[in-house]
């Protein structure tokens, strides 16, 4: 995937990876869908050792909060390997509605 869909307020500087009925920041504007590069940097992360039943078969796995390079938006994703804060990462694909990221070369 070469693009990440994000939502930007038409009235203020609010951006989010999730759509909202009304902008939660200015509570006036509507959000408009735009596309940016999914490339980003690891803002923070954790390694999940104890998982709920539906994810137990892949534990331990790493979940990261990724700051996108091209927009003031953070995205929660599953990593395909361990990471640390500041690592450059890119989108590898979608898996059952989850963004799967990998370390950038």
């Amino acid at each position: 995937m070469r693009v990440m869909k994000i939502f930007a307020c038409m009235n203020c500087d609010y951006h989010s990876v999730t759509s909202k009925y009304t902008c939660p920041k200015c509570q006036q504007g509507k959000l408009q869908e735009t596309e940016v590069s999914p490339k980003g940097t690891v803002y923070s992360f954790t390694d999940i050792h104890v998982a709920p039943a539906e994810f137990a078969h892949i534990a331990p796995y790493t979940v990261a909060l990724i700051q996108l390079d091209e927009a003031p938006v953070k995205v929660t994703a599953r990593m395909d390997s361990e990471v640390t804060i500041g690592d450059a990462v890119e989108l590898k694909g979608l898996e059952e509605g989850a963004f799967i990221y990998t370390k950038a070369n």
Binding site: T18, S44, F45, I48, V50, L65, K74, I85, E96
Partner: protein
Amino acid sequence: MTNVYVHGVGMTQFGTFVDRTMKDLLLDACIQALNEAGNPKVDAVYVGNFMGGSIYNQEILGAIVANELGLGFIPTAKVEGACASGGIAVRQGVLGIQSGEYETVLVAGVEKMKHASTADVTQAINAAMDNDSNEKRAGLTFPGFFGVLANRYFYETGASKKHLAMVALKNRENAMQNPLAQFRKPATLEEIMEARMITNPLGLFDCSPMTDGAAAIVLSSKKSPVHVRSSAQSSGPTQMQDADDLLSIPAIKESGRLAYEKAGVGPEDIDVVEIHDCFSMTEMLAIEELGFFAKREGWKAIEEGRTKVIGDKPVNTSGGLLSRGHPIGATGISQLYQLVHQLRGTAPNQVEGNPRLALAQNLGGTGSYSVVHILERV
């Protein structure tokens, strides 16, 4: 506005009670609270509960309480607000009295968790996340959220895993003096730091346990020595990726701000605190959000021992969720149980100097709900 007072509190032992039913625990706490209140006529019942339906196949808890206790055909309801269910139930009672509709309300909270497997309970708790989201599908969990938060907190401050362990150790030491607490065995800082990892950097002692238990409180517009000085509630982002600042939980901050404003007091006036330490990291953040310590400096207060029973801002003298235990629906009410005893001078880990103002903060979801109550000795 009508004033609301506390007339009685009750609480079961927290722990593993596979042989006791949910009804048995719930009624036990209610009867204790009603007895203490002198068995008044009750006008309504609210019950805080989160997963009675999903893992115990039991709802209609409000009607069960009214029926089993013979309270008459009074209005009742179950209140669900994830881990803030108990606190929100109390607030519904307060609002019912303030509106003039009721004079006396019984509020109880209960949860049965220990009969189910950890994987099934974790799955049921995940109902308090926004499940229709890429975040949930990525495999994020509650301890996962606070693990992500802790790693960033470490990165931006001088805090480390040792500071999380100091929170867990303090709360364990407090629980050791609380006969109703789930975990009363001593622990060491080393043991806490070396415990098995749950969600890096959070280990076993950094996470609140699964617990069976119940708590109850009787509220009334009739005067008593414990006044509910204010009740406030807020919501916040239901997804981690929607947080404006990962190291802030707006629901905690806003519910605190509203509670102080309504009470006409500030964080500096509060003598004793029960905070929702679902994880050690949460306590570190909540003491900042509630204004007790500066942003990004909660870890320093912990290092200096300022939140211990003998510190200048005692936090979780009951042992907190981490060691008193966290029977989800009962938690918010068990916080008030401890604070009422602190104001009466009868608490385990009694704070010296006759505390007058006490604050309880109860959190639901990853910052989805927060409720703050300020109690006053009058």
